[in-house]
Subunit: 367 residues, 2 copies
Amino acid sequence: MSEHSSFAVVAKPGDRVVDLSTPRPLIDEDVMAANIARGQAYCDEHGLAFRPHIKTHKIVALASAQVAAGAKGINCQKITEAEVFAAAGFEDILITFNILGAEKLDRLAALHERISMLKVVADSVATVDGLSVRFALAKPLTVLVECDTGGGRCGVQSPEEAAALARHIAAKQGLVFGGLMTYPKSWSAAAVQAYFAETIALLEKDGISCATVSNGGTPSLYEAHLVLSATEHRAGTYIYNDRSMMRDGHCTQADCAMHILATVVSLPTPDRAVVDAGSKALTADLLGFSDYGKIVEYPDAVITKLSEEHGAVDLSNCVGARPEIGEKIRIIPNHTCVVSNLFDTMVFHRNGVVTRVEEVSARGLVW
Amino acid sequence: MSEHSSFAVVAKPGDRVVDLSTPRPLIDEDVMAANIARGQAYCDEHGLAFRPHIKTHKIVALASAQVAAGAKGINCQKITEAEVFAAAGFEDILITFNILGAEKLDRLAALHERISMLKVVADSVATVDGLSVRFALAKPLTVLVECDTGGGRCGVQSPEEAAALARHIAAKQGLVFGGLMTYPKSWSAAAVQAYFAETIALLEKDGISCATVSNGGTPSLYEAHLVLSATEHRAGTYIYNDRSMMRDGHCTQADCAMHILATVVSLPTPDRAVVDAGSKALTADLLGFSDYGKIVEYPDAVITKLSEEHGAVDLSNCVGARPEIGEKIRIIPNHTCVVSNLFDTMVFHRNGVVTRVEEVSARGLVW
């Protein structure tokens, strides 16, 4: 299962999760299945194609479950992720990243020969021209224009720029203009819709159509129908959910499928506990919080500080029971996607009994 | 080299690092060798045993280099790390963590049978009693008392408590009292020395001696001689160094052996660049900074925001040259130890030419 298998602490079906070595992320099968079904049902109801982002789980079996539920294809963030999923039989993959440099372009070309529906994005002439040179004499590659609709990350800055880059792609040898893509981190359905509609209108004047208009994000998933021009929606976190999604009202605690099982290893003072989950199990991702996760059993406890293998917990606000040394607790992480990237395997359970252990096949791969 | 080897982007000796796929952490051989030599020379000069913490690199060959330079043994933070290094032939291992629970105690017992000089720490009667029950009928296990000398993490809170727990260990079947250990995160040589000296004096009255008095931390490494009672010092980060060590005056930029090679993938606005190193390459560890690493080539650029595979860079303070799309840059991470934990392999180079690729054998293992 892993190059470390002789050392890894392996769980097996039938084990009770409370007996597992900690820290250990766990996925509740039923909660996850409900999350998959809910996301797909929403998109089906609104006539949107759904393209789950596999960066959250990086597990082949979960992407298969998402496609079996009705997903159109998958979204990857890097070539190495796409390679893992292409090898597992996925044909429709969108890589939402600018791909640059000889080594990556060669890998992209090999991937393109292997699967039937590979698509990438670009937000600059430099990226488009690199793709064109590489694919000029090969099977044409479909390229979407990445639009910055307020996320402040990648993406062209206006509908005019988007239309100009789309025309550039459409005119380039080896490339097919595939449409528009955005990741609107600060969600405003009206802003995204206005950006898309204006770009589409500009391109229509030139007779250029947008086959795919791809919106994204779990925070916007259940409002995705408000972007009328979108043909598909991408989401990753929805499959597990996490504390940041709870805070922002996108799910309830009962919808959080991932918990990090941890052990209380020290109670140095009456108000301080230390657990064996630190930044190498939870990551230091705050996502706007000032603490590092929610302890299910002690909701008033605050994980104030992480070092690599320790989490310091302030118990001073705890009313009633407090944890004992040796006790196992469950932590809902601030951000699930980065936790997945830390572990070679993921343990699944139903009602606290292990159902399966899956390899996190696409974790830790260099781009 | 890895379960992902068919997908991993592998470097090989002789490759130029600028041609490698990004994001990719790189270690400068000569800088690292100088760091190893300097840490050891300091301890030798002051008559302190040196025990490098392998959590920073998790690579067998590097621990071998540290021991070859004169280190007494190694420090691990969890059993699975110790198992990897024990299998590689290391006999003197201190695990600086409370070990609790049947599964971990069984693994500890197996490890203890395998190597000759295993030591652990404890900061509570609960932990000590668990160890005693497990080792009562086996080869006795050496246990040090962990002292909280101001770090605010684990550890007993006073010399009186330390002495009481030491007496408890000394009286327990299956255990040998081995001395004292601390990780003084907020470094005060005087406070650590006072705590140690007072505890030692209390124990001397009972005829109990401290064979090992173990102090730790890279920030305190080059002042370790100020803790007169210490017999050994532990340090991890010193082998690579990082931006937090630079800021705090513990090294210069020239002493930083780790760089993350990244590619500029987008320039959406005149003042914003986006690189392909996000929280899955740099981690979100701030360590007191408000940004996510230092770009060597553009020291006035600020990595303001990370998402998983993107780093957003503010160029507005850059005087003179600015990066171009496709350009490769090098980032000194805020914290090296958590970066090591993200990658299955580490690439080493000398003057930009790859010298070797080492497996990060102890990464990602559940406790």
